[in-house]
């Protein structure tokens, strides 16, 4: 049991979404039980870019990565959030 890192891939609704603004909005939307560790743009294909977001949370229960997933899904401009990896620090 301890601190777990959760890495997510966030896809924007379209290539027109301003990723700079989306980054700022995502930073504000991270639930308080987790903290944002890193956020970076990752080129995917045909001009589409994903945001890779790493948050850190406690794994002792009470909160799950899904809560972060669902909070970030609600940010305007987000098409999907997928948890790619979880690991204990």
């Amino acid at each position: 049991m301890g601190e777990a890192a959760v890495r997510m891939k966030i896809m924007p609704e379209s290539t027109d979404v301003d990723l700079g603004k989306l980054t700022e909005d995502i930073k504000k939307a991270v639930p308080s039980f987790a903290r944002l560790h890193a956020i970076e743009e990752m080129p995917i294909a045909f001009g589409l870019k994903a945001l890779i977001v790493v948050t850190i949370m406690n794994d002792k229960g009470g909160h799950s990565p899904e809560e972060i997933e669902s909070a970030l899904s609600k940010v305007p401009g987000v098409e999907s959030v997928e948890v790619e990896e979880v690991g204990l620090l």
Binding site: V6, R7, A38, V54, S80, V86
Partner: protein
């Protein structure tokens, strides 16, 4: 050069307090991944604080902060080298809420070390982790029979064999071949049979833990299986056309391939494939791609559909038989239960129509035919009917397409694998 060695992702699993972190710490120490000088410092400090027996676990805790600083966009794992490989250690979060992400996530362990404390034997979490590692497709396993120094009497062969038998039955039940799995009596704390054979276990003739790690094989990428790319999202990009994005699970996608999306049942042709914004002629398992499809519009397909070749289309299930393990549930699960199944990128409500058998994890046999209900901790064979068309395939045929997590009321209730499918 260390960098040239083949790489393996190694998961450490097992019951809490059975000594996972101590074993990892000892391995890092024995392989020179932690500066021995630093370990000595910690030893002194730990002993001064009266924690001498926990020195390695304590070293790991003390290095945790350092590791957190090391986390960037890639989740930093602990790393150690043997003479043959370099390993990154995947330390699985303890809580069940993380299970779904271990099943649907991108990270995949190539092998696992199951740590079982010999004085304690098989515990609830041992059972759960064995089942999960099988569900997650970890085919290479090493059993570290830990705390062999703490049996009564110490280094007791009889107790070792009792627990080995118990763990063996459990492994056989979920489908592991016992002849391929080393059971090694170790002490993470004292270092017995980690790097060199222990003087205390002369009755044991098998490999040390480091030998067993060197005996692992680098798994082949599943390029020989049929193409399966679960759709993550679909876009219409001006000047390009329809572009689904997703991760190739199995097989190879090439430009001009004739492809079909199921259960949407629409087909088209791959015009081009891009990865990291660069056009690639082919995409392989593990590649995150966007592919431009001719003959399919954005409204035809959606997240949860699976792309495959027309001649080997993904199987759409009318119903399927599965083996599941119930991780947590406030009451009991009986026929008629309809939670949400998370399988690849699909999330679909499915009804458990029949509980065929409850399994006894200790003997691997059927404990009860057609039980009325199952509860947390039970493993069972069930029949499942999806509420709408869904691609799922037997793990024996395409392991990547047969695993699922079952969620209900905000928690992961169970995990499982598909055994057989009745196609639509």
């Amino acid at each position: 050069m260390a960098e040239q060695k083949p790489h393996l992702n190694l998961a450490f699993i097992g019951h809490v307090d059975h000594g996972k972190s101590t074993t990892v710490g000892r391995l890092m120490y024995e392989t020179g991944a932690v500066d021995p000088h630093i370990i000595d410092e910690y030893k002194k400090e730990a002993s001064a604080k009266g924690k001498a027996t926990f020195e390695f676990a304590w070293v790991m805790d003390s290095l945790k902060e350092e590791r957190e600083r090391g986390v960037t966009i890639d989740i930093a794992h602990q790393r150690f080298d043997t003479s043959k490989y370099y390993f990154t250690v995947v330390d699985c979060p303890g809580h069940r809420d993380f299970v779904k992400n271990m099943i649907t996530g991108a990270s995949q362990a190539d092998a696992a070390v199951l740590v079982v404390a010999v004085p304690d034997g098989v515990m609830a979490q041992t059972k759960e982790h064995v089942f999960l590692s099988r569900t997650l497709g970890v085919n290479q396993l090493i059993v570290a029979m830990n705390k062999i120094d703490a049996t009564k009497p110490p280094y007791d062969e009889k107790r070792f064999n009792e627990v080995k038998d118990e763990v063996g039955k459990l492994l056989r039940m979920v489908g592991y071949k016992l002849e391929d799995i080393p059971f090694i009596p170790i002490s993470g704390l004292m270092g017995d049979n980690l790097a060199k054979p222990s003087e205390h276990t002369k009755w044991y003739k098998g490999p040390t833990l480091l030998d067993a790690l060197n005996n692992l094989k680098v798994p082949q990428k599943p390029t020989n299986l049929p193409l399966r790319v679960p759709v993550q999202d679909v876009y219409t990009i001006s000047g390009v056309g329809t572009v689904p994005v997703g991760r190739v699970e199995t097989g190879v996608m090439k430009k001009n391939d004739k492809i079909i999306f199921e259960p949407a049942n629409v087909s088209g042709e791959v015009k081009s494939i891009e990865m990291h914004h660069e056009e690639v002629p082919e995409a392989y398992p593990g590649d995150n791609i966007g592919w431009n499809v001719r003959g399919v519009s954005k409204k035809d397909i959606r997240r949860g559909d699976v792309c495959g070749h027309v001649d080997k289309a993904p199987t759409v299930a009318k119903e399927f038989k599965a083996q599941i393990v119930v991780l947590q549930h406030p009451s009991a699960i009986s026929a008629g239960y309809t939670p949400v199944f998370h399988c690849h990128t699909a999330q679909i409500a499915c009804t458990i129509t029949q509980i065929l058998a409850k399994l006894d994890p200790r003997s691997g046999t059927v404990k009860e035919e057609n039980p009325a209900f199952i509860k947390a901790g039970d493993a069972a064979i069930v029949m499942v009917t999806p509420s709408k068309p869904m691609v799922i395939e037997p793990v024996k045929e395409i392991p990547q397409m047969g695993r699922f997590a079952i969620r209900d009321m905000g928690t992961t209730v169970a995990a499982g694998m598909c055994m057989t499918v009745t196609p639509r």
